[in-house]
């Protein structure tokens, strides 16, 4: 399990857990929940994830508080 921040462009990852409940609730609303698979389409400090037809940008600090399994 690594921080989402470790993901590289083009790579996919499955969300595993969150640093705390607040961050979990915050992300769950966007559909970023445990078990969700996301794909990284850009990384420039912030990371841009693609999920279905949505693109979601997540700032660097938040990326360090979401844990994933790289696929």
């Amino acid at each position: 399990m690594v921080a989402l921040y470790e993901i590289e462009i083009g790579q996919e990852a499955e969300v595993q857990s969150f640093l705390n409940s607040d961050i979990k609730c915050y992300s769950v609303r966007f559909g970023i929940e445990e078990g969700q698979v996301v794909k990284c389409i850009a990384k420039l400090g912030a990371i841009v994830l693609q999920k279905n037809n949505q693109e979601i940008a997540i700032g660097k600090n938040l990326c360090k508080e979401i844990y994933v399994r790289l696929i």
Partner: protein, 610 residues
């Protein structure tokens, strides 16, 4: 059904219904609102366009447009504002984006769980079709137990059906977890609503709700990732090299259109040929013939005359710049480029204690700092709002002022001056952001935004927005210009202007190395920023008068009036939004910094002339 009856009763009785539009940011709530009610509402392709509840009365009822939210919580100011009105609604028109159904339905399920009568509007169906997103509408309606209407708001498709079916709003099917949570606990919905936000229940509720929403979307949504031109362009803009090159090109086009074409040719034609060459001689003649005391004559057609200089500045100089600038901004706002710029600038802005989202108020500040100070509400914390408001008030020149600055720099034709001007402003911006980031407790809130598809701007929307903002400018600014001109004329008539020149000469002459009369520019600047730039354009000879300033002096003034106090309207909004303590600090701080920096620059330029 009970609610149906009560809504029908309401429709028949004279009690006005309150119909609230609610939904995630940028799904098209304002577009739907404006098509249903026929009133103008601001529509742009980024999250956080609408930041206040906006109510319109029609013969069907009172419609309220609300800010976009991801949940009815208290994560940020928008949620708090929207929550107040949504929980009071008779009918909620919940707008969702067909492209992001799984995200958007989270709020829908929350509204359903709260027992609000709902009408689901599935907007942006055109985009969904383009990307081959298939939604089984019937099934969706069955699953949620609320009526669902597909729409393409910008083309008015499906709007009439929504209007015709308001009375069919339904309380949908609550998640099974609600019954569990309510069981044995004697909780009412009101309690539940309050409980939502107490931390122990929230996580469980959110996770269960998300599960339920995923279940619904799995049953109703067939989609695959499909790229088209829009998504390819969108992705390319996230590449730093391409993204920043495009920014460079955008700024260059802005410079060519507003700085060279409008500030140069259009203004020259309007200000010098039409107003200066035809209107002013004519009106001066008319007024001179009418019998009146000299002082009145001076007020009307003197050097700072209400009918001469003021008209010339407002209509000959500022109006064309404003129109050009707002038109350009409206295109940018509609394109979907701004949220991508937020991603590109996130790293830099985090050094100033902000996150990438702050680029949106900063860019909008180039249009109007006053509006931008309100837009800082889309930032996550009060700390970020303080930093962003300070940066806006201090370093960001607004539309007409920028237009003039571009025009003045273009007229002087020196690349070196350009660079020096930019460097002074950017260094101040970085300096003030870094300092505030150090001294204010706390840190930047994390960035999480969704990136809308890139779009070709809708021409009608661009024109409507430009007209609306221009109109707003004329209504708000014109009286201030008249008051400003009047004050200066009175000062002149009572011979106080000379005393003020002398009084300020330690600042103007000794510190900034400028002629005394430049005090005028600062007095005008206290009233409106762009007013001072207009005064300056005269002094460098743009209005057909003789130039009295050297390039070095012009540069110093440009820097000082950019940093100098925000205009009256901004100050009023600043006091309202940030409180008197913080607002006065920003106000006094900006004057001090402006003159201090101007002094430093003047000294450097004395030693090393351009």
């Amino acid at each position: 059904m009970q609610i149906k009856n009560s809504i029908n009763d309401n429709l028949q009785s004279s009690k006005t219904l309150r119909i609230v539009l609610a939904g995630n940011p940028n799904v098209g709530k304002s577009a739907v609102f404006s098509k249903i009610t026929g009133t103008y509402a601001e529509i742009s392709n980024y999250s956080g366009t609408t930041l206040e509840n906006f109510e319109v009365k029609t013969d069907i009822g009172r419609f309220v447009d609300t800010p976009g939210i991801f949940s009815l919580g208290d994560y940020n100011e928008e949620e708090i504002i929207a929550k107040q009105i949504i929980t009071q609604a008779d009918i909620v028109i919940n707008v969702v984006n067909a492209l992001s159904l799984d995200k958007d339905l989270f709020l829908t399920q929350q509204l359903i769980d709260l027992g609000l009568p709902i009408l689901l509007v599935l907007n942006q169906m055109d985009e969904a079709e383009k990307r081959e997103v298939n939604i089984n509408i019937e099934k969706l309606s069955k699953e949620l137990e609320v009526p669902v209407f597909p729409t393409v708001a910008i083309k008015s498709q499906g709007i009439q059906e929504v209007k015709d079916n308001l009375h069919n709003a339904r309380k949908g099917r609550k998640g099974s977890y609600i019954a569990e949570m309510l069981e044995g606990k004697e909780l009412s919905y009101k309690n539940l609503l309050e409980n939502e936000f107490s931390t122990e229940n929230r996580e469980k509720l959110y996770v269960e709700r998300r599960k339920r929403v995923n279940e619904v979307t799995n049953k109703t949504l067939i989609t695959k990732e499909k790229s088209n031109i829009s998504s390819t362009v969108g992705k390319a803009l996230l590449n730093p090299v391409i993204g920043f090159s495009v920014l460079g090109v955008v700024l260059y086009i802005l410079y060519q259109i507003v700085g060279v074409f409008i500030a140069g040719e259009v203004v020259d034609f309007l200000e010098n040929q039409i107003i200066g060459g035809k209107y002013i001689p004519w009106i001066t003649g008319v007024v001179n013939q009418a019998p009146m005391p000299t002082w009145l004559n001076t007020i009307l057609v003197g050097e700072f005359g209400l009918l001469t200089m003021t008209i010339q500045y407002v209509f000959g100089l500022l109006l064309p710049l404003i129109v050009g600038f707002y038109f350009f901004m409206a295109i940018l706002e509609d394109s979907g480029y701004l949220p991508r710029l937020a991603v590109l600038t996130d790293r830099f802005l985090s050094k100033l204690g902000l996150n990438g989202k702050a680029i949106i108020p900063i860019i909008l500040g180039f249009g109007c700092v006053t509006m931008a100070v309100i837009t800082t509400r889309l930032l996550g914390s009060s700390r970020e709002r303080t930093i962003a408001s300070t940066i806006l008030c201090l370093t960001i020149p607004c539309s007409a002022q920028i237009g003039l600055i571009l025009g003045i720099l273009a007229a002087m034709g020196s690349l070196k001056l350009w660079m020096l001007y930019l460097a002074s402003i950017v260094i101040t911006l970085i300096f003030i952001g870094t300092v505030l980031n150090k001294i204010l407790a706390g840190k930047a809130t994390p960035l999480i935004i969704d990136l809308p598809p890139m779009r070709i701007p809708v021409i009608k929307n661009v024109i409507d927005k430009t007209l609306c903002k221009t109109n707003h400018f004329l209504i708000e600014a014109t009286p201030l210009f008249f008051i400003g001109a009047l004050i200066i004329t009175i000062l002149e008539l009572t011979n106080s202007l000379k005393s003020i020149y002398n009084f300020l000469s330690p600042l103007t002459v000794s510190l900034l190395n400028l002629p005394k009369e430049t005090a005028n520019i600062f007095i005008m600047g206290l009233i409106r920023r762009d007013f001072s730039a207009a005064g300056l354009s005269d002094m460098i000879g743009m209005g057909g008068k003789a130039a009295i300033l050297s390039p070095e002096q012009t540069l110093v003034i440009l820097v000082v009036i950019t940093l100098f106090v925000p205009c009256i309207a901004t100050v009023i909004v600043l006091f309202k939004e940030r409180g008197y303590k913080e607002a006065s600090l920003i106000w006094i701080g900006s004057i001090t910094i402006a003159f201090a920096l101007g002094g430093i620059l003047a000294t450097i330029l004395k030693i090393l002339p351009v």
